[in-house]
């Protein structure tokens, strides 16, 4: 049976396509968000996916399989493939067979009850059970509290979702509120509501995905204000730490002395502490121990925020597995990991609770309207010959550091004479070359944190109009008035990097933003550029393609 007005097309591989041309597309989208994941959102057709994880998370939040099926049937244009229906019912039926509770007789241990004998037998004979579980009777295992996260991850991999009924430990109360002069946007409130729910079981941990510039920090602050507990915020770099601290000071009533920085420069542990992934994963050469893990483990935190959670380093995964009893929030714009460990982010930090198409926020003015341009420039004759004779890897570098790109930069900077401009690149020599020619300031990995902060501050104040940055500025640097970014080279085909770099210019402002990527035509760089652009095109961004005359 076919109903052309219905917006969902459900494939047998459990992909859901949402036809935006249908009048009910938005209603359908709201209905399916709780149990599906947004994969991509180009302009006419969005793609969602049903996975075991997305279904289990929906069920843990109170949705039933029947309700899920009913919602799909309500909006589906065609009859739903039986395999999809079977998958939903089968997957849903697995939830609730493994229940994790506290062991009242031993507060260092937990109990895992298994409702079906067959599953109990299966688990008993697994390597996981031999290593971590101790059978107590014919349907219960006992495990160490520290292994909670690990067990949950491994059981999910085995196809056994765990109903974790241990209430989250709220931790020490910290009184904090948002300032009355500040009000959050509707989608920020919705994101926090999705994360916290009304405090029922199965909420209070998760990931929120929002475009760059849309105010993820605000979402974190909103959650903090609701939870009012000791909070640790982990960031990718010191600049982000300072940014968070500024935001906390500007938008909340938390006294300054209750907010501490724990980084290479400072070791304060306060009720609200902001730190970096690097410091946590620092260890001396030749030493196995992470010197600062105790910050995470022993800080009696009630809430942990993982900023740019897509960057969560592998060692932090491990320790996060131990921190299952506290509220935890992951924030990111691009949940793409080149190591494919998104699933572990979902399992350990928590499932995706909120996601929204970039295009929607841009339409509503919450992020800047951005125009992407690809400018193609030829190599000069000498470089052409070098390129033709070079190895594949070397070809990429030759193309990336094409001297003619500098002329393009000059033209673009002249064209945008009223704009604040970031010039971003991969190769330090190239960036130094640009600096040498134009005398613009530069921030690289070698620039000290203090100097970086000063430069960024001057940039914000428009005392510096053009700033050259290496990939240190790929993410988490808040430069609100920056409206032009010129990318001269990138890390091969990193989609995440492209999206994050675009993110530098997406803070809403009165004028539109422009993102230029300069590539060498007919070169390896083209291929990688197309891959890099993939994520943004999936968000609905198109690129104008221009050829430079040099």
């Amino acid at each position: 049976m076919l109903d052309r007005d219905k917006p969902l097309l459900i494939q047998s591989d459990r992909t859901i396509l949402l036809d935006l041309a249908c009048p009910d597309a938005e209603n359908a989208r709201l209905d399916i968000i709780p149990f599906s994941e947004l994969i991509k959102s180009p302009e006419h057709m969005h793609t969602y996916s049903l996975s075991a994880l997305s279904l289990w998370n929906a069920i843990s939040a109170g949705l039933s399989a029947d309700e899920i099926v009913a919602r799909l049937k309500k909006w589906s244009r065609y009859d739903i493939d039986q395999r999809v229906l079977f998958f939903i019912e089968d997957t849903a039926s697995r939830y609730g067979n493994f229940i994790l509770t506290e062991d009242e007789s031993d507060n260092q241990r937990l109990l895992l009850k298994v409702n079906k004998k067959l599953f109990f037998l299966q688990l008993s004979s697994s390597a996981l059970a031999k290593k971590y579980l101790k059978a107590e009777g014919d349907n219960t295992f006992s495990l160490s509290r520290l292994e909670r996260g690990k067990i949950k991850v491994e059981l999910i991999k085995m196809g056994f979702p765990v109903d974790d009924r241990i209430p989250l430990n709220k931790g020490e109360h910290v009184d904090m509120n948002l300032k009355s002069t500040f009000s959050a946007r509707d989608y920020q409130e919705t994101a926090v509501n999705s994360f916290l729910g009304s405090g029922e079981r199965g909420t209070g941990f998760g990931t929120i995905v929002l475009p760059c510039g849309s105010g993820k920090t605000i979402v974190g602050l909103l959650a903090m204000a609701r939870l009012k507990t000791r909070t640790l915020i982990l960031c990718p770099n010191v600049q982000s730490v300072h940014q968070w601290m500024r935001e906390i000071a500007e938008k909340t009533d938390i006294p300054e002395d209750m907010v501490g920085e724990y980084s290479g420069d400072s070791k304060e542990i306060k009720p609200i502490t902001v730190s970096t992934y690097q410091i946590l994963t620092y260890r001396k050469p030749g030493c196995e121990d992470y010197l600062h893990f105790s910050l995470l483990r022993d800080g009696k935190w009630g809430f942990i925020i993982y900023d740019e959670v897509h960057m969560l380093p592998a060692p932090v995964f491990r320790i996060t597995a131990e921190l299952q009893s506290i509220y935890r929030l992951g924030l990111t714009a691009t949940l793409i990991r080149e190591d494919g460990r998104e699933d572990e982010v979902f399992s350990l930090v928590g499932p995706k609770r909120f996601d929204t198409p970039w295009s929607e926020l841009a339409e509503r003015g919450y992020i800047a309207q951005a125009y992407c341009h690809e400018i193609r420039v030829a190599l000069d004759e000498d470089d052409e010959i070098k390129y033709a004779l070079a190895s594949k890897r070397e070809k990429y570098r030759i193309a990336s550091v094409n001297k003619r790109k500098l002329n393009i930069i000059e033209d673009l900077v002249k064209k945008h004479s009223d704009d604040s401009i970031l010039i971003i690149g991969q190769y330090i020599e190239q960036l130094e070359e640009i600096k040498k020619r134009f005398s613009w300031p530069i921030v690289t990995g070698k620039t000290s944190n203090k100097v970086r902060d000063e430069i960024y501050q001057k940039f914000r104040q428009r005392k510096i109009r053009v700033l050259i940055v290496s990939k240190v500025a790929n993410f988490a640097i808040d430069l609100p008035d920056c409206s032009v970014a010129i990318q001269v080279s990138g890390t091969f085909g990193s989609r995440q990097e492209e999206a994050q770099r675009l993110g530098r210019i997406l803070r809403p402002k009165e004028k539109s933003s422009h993102f230029y990527t300069i590539i060498t035509e007919y070169s390896e760089e083209e291929e990688f550029a197309m891959n890099r652009q993939k994520f943004l095109s999936e968000q609905g961004y198109s690129y104008t393609l221009e050829r430079a005359d040099v």
Binding site: L9, D13, D19, K40, M530, S537, L545
Partner: protein, 569 residues
């Protein structure tokens, strides 16, 4: 009884104003059609599709119909009724609904060829084998069973080799893009035929088209009985299709919970969406050029293809320009295509056009001969360039023409061209695939529903007082000769002689003996009726006896006798 006798009876009893039998059938066509049983409708449908009355073939298809029954139908004019009212595919090939969507051969072949194109540079036998059994390929067809898909691909590859769409040299497997494109441009019937049966001679090929045309009509029949229906298609078309398993393997037929349907190629229906991430998604049939210029991502209810640089290159190599491709995409898309995509295609075309190669021939000669060659006007069009004195680049395709010119000038000792043989497919005058043939069409649904209670109604409408006439009418209804109430209700005035008038009985028997267009209907004292032609009338010691049909009857024992024109009894 002969058809002529039947027609005479009908005309005698029921015709109007001297109308002919054809007019009679035309006038009563609807009623005749409604008086046909379901089984008879199947036979009539098969007859119309075969376009001839081949009783042997009909009996093969319908074993429950012996020759007598078929003849009975013929005499009732059932093979004279226009197919419009009676014949339908529905009778012959199933009455169910069309079945849920199912992956069809056409979409599979197009996507598969597209995948081979994307891998072509790297394909040898080992890689081909790994490729067709890979998970990545199976994921592109999520609704297909994996092991069945692998078997299908094995066969597809084998048959594509036979069609020379794929060829093999020492190092790798090559795809003949032109042939591949011709193949995927075929309509679904021809595609099924060529893919499943790469080598058939011309006449058998046409039969195969008809076979698939008929098989595609199968709807909602029990899987246990599917062979019966497919065999009908085979007998009607005259095509030997091999085994039924292949029809399932090649996704011509699909079993859904014990009911089999023919997989129907979809017409394009929903929007074609070309997104800024270079993906194309649509429902309905895959337009052939899409599988040429894109790579399949998912072939399911919604087909999703991805435009890539490599896939677009295929189109350029078949002489499509960037504008051709962009126009094609725009003609498909429901929304204006992204300027990024158009620009990207133009850039790719520029890159493609930066360098190209073509086959030419090098002609070397001495200076003197070179001057002579240049002075021959008819050679000028074949000389592409003189690269140096005595060295010419010549048009390779027209080699035969300029050779002839040179030979007829003064170069009759010119040697054969040295180097590899060229194999041009570009200007072949005949395509290797044949044109569509016409085959008879009948309705999909039967227009007139067979009324199974009609006969009962007709029987109950008989109101003859005379028992013999009542019985005669009864027999005519049951034989289907009488098919409407007005015919049944019409009073029949027949001359009936009863037992007490022996001489009259004898006279009637003699009349029937002499005039073979008449039949005798007799009733004995227990009410049993016999009818037939009188073959013989003889006097014996025991009395007068006659041979009626194959029966020997004593005249004195006949209770009632009447004479009728021949009828279907």
């Amino acid at each position: 009884m002969s058809k002529d006798d039947c027609e005479r009876l009908l005309l005698t009893l029921y015709s109007e104003n001297g109308e002919s039998i054809d007019d009679f059938y035309k006038r009563n066509e609807l009623e005749i059609a409604s008086n046909v049983t379901e089984e008879e409708a199947e036979v009539i449908s098969a007859f119309h599709l075969m376009q001839k009355l081949d009783k042997n073939l009909l009996r093969i298809m319908f074993p429950q119909f012996n020759e007598r029954r078929i003849e009975n139908m013929r005499m009732r004019g059932l093979f004279d009724i226009s197919s419009e009212h009676v014949a339908s595919y529905y009778s012959l090939f199933g009455k169910g609904s069309q079945g849920d969507w199912s992956l069809g051969l056409s979409d599979i072949v197009k996507a598969f060829i597209s995948l081979i194109e994307s891998k072509e540079l790297y394909l040898n036998e080992r890689r081909m084998s790994a490729f067709i059994s890979s998970k990545a390929v199976a994921e592109i067809f999520p609704s297909a069973e994996e092991d069945k898909l692998e078997k299908l691909f094995d066969r597809l590859v084998k048959n594509l080799f036979e069609l020379e769409v794929l060829t093999k040299d020492k190092r790798r497997i090559r795809l003949d893009r032109k042939k591949a494109f011709e193949l995927i441009n075929l309509d679904e019937i021809r595609l099924c035929s060529y893919i499943m049966f790469p080598h058939l001679d011309e006449w058998v090929r046409k039969k195969s088209f008809y076979f698939f045309h008929l098989v595609k009509k199968i709807r909602g029949v029990k899987t246990d009985e599917i062979e019966k229906y497919v065999n009908r298609a085979a007998v009607i078309s005259g095509f030997n299709y091999g085994g039924i398993e292949d029809l399932f393997l090649f996704c011509i037929l699909k079993d859904q919970s014990g009911i089999t349907y023919a997989v129907q190629d979809e017409k394009a229906e929903g929007p074609v969406i070309i997104s800024s991430d270079y993906s194309i998604s649509f429902t309905g049939n895959t337009a052939p050029l899409i599988s040429l210029i894109c790579t399949p991502v998912s072939i399911d209810r919604v087909k999703i293809y991805q435009i890539t640089k490599e896939s677009i290159l295929n189109a350029f190599s078949l002489s499509y320009t960037d504008d051709d491709v962009i126009s094609f995409l725009q003609s498909l898309a429901d929304f204006t295509i992204s300027p990024t995509l158009s620009s990207r295609i133009k850039i790719w075309f520029e890159e493609y056009s930066r360098i190209n190669s073509e086959r030419v021939l090098l002609l070397r000669t001495d200076e003197k001969s070179a001057k002579l060659i240049k002075s021959i006007p008819s050679l000028a069009e074949y000389i592409l360039e003189e690269v140096s004195p005595g060295v010419f680049i010549m048009d390779a395709i027209a080699e035969a023409e300029w050779r002839e010119i040179l030979k007829s000038s003064s170069f009759d000792m010119m040697s054969e061209t040295k180097g590899p043989e060229f194999n041009y497919s570009q200007y072949e005058s005949e395509t290797s695939f044949m044109d569509m043939i016409q085959y008879p069409e009948i309705r999909t649904e039967r227009e007139i529903c067979y009324d199974s209670t009609l006969r009962k109604r007709l029987l109950s409408a008989i109101c003859e007082e005379e028992p013999m006439i009542h019985k005669i009418k009864e027999m005519m209804v049951l034989s289907g000769v009488l098919f409407s109430k007005s015919q049944v209700e019409k009073k029949l005035e027949l001359e009936i002689v009863d037992a007490f008038n022996y001489m009259e009985k004898h006279r009637m028997i003699e009349k029937a003996l002499k005039d073979k267009s008449l039949i005798l209907v007799v009733e004995n004292h227990s009410g049993r009726i016999a009818a037939g032609k009188v073959e013989m009338l003889e006097s014996f010691e025991e009395g007068d006896h006659m041979v009626l049909g194959h029966k020997v009857l004593s005249v004195s024992r006949l209770y009632r006798v009447t004479v009728l024109p021949a009828c279907l009894l």
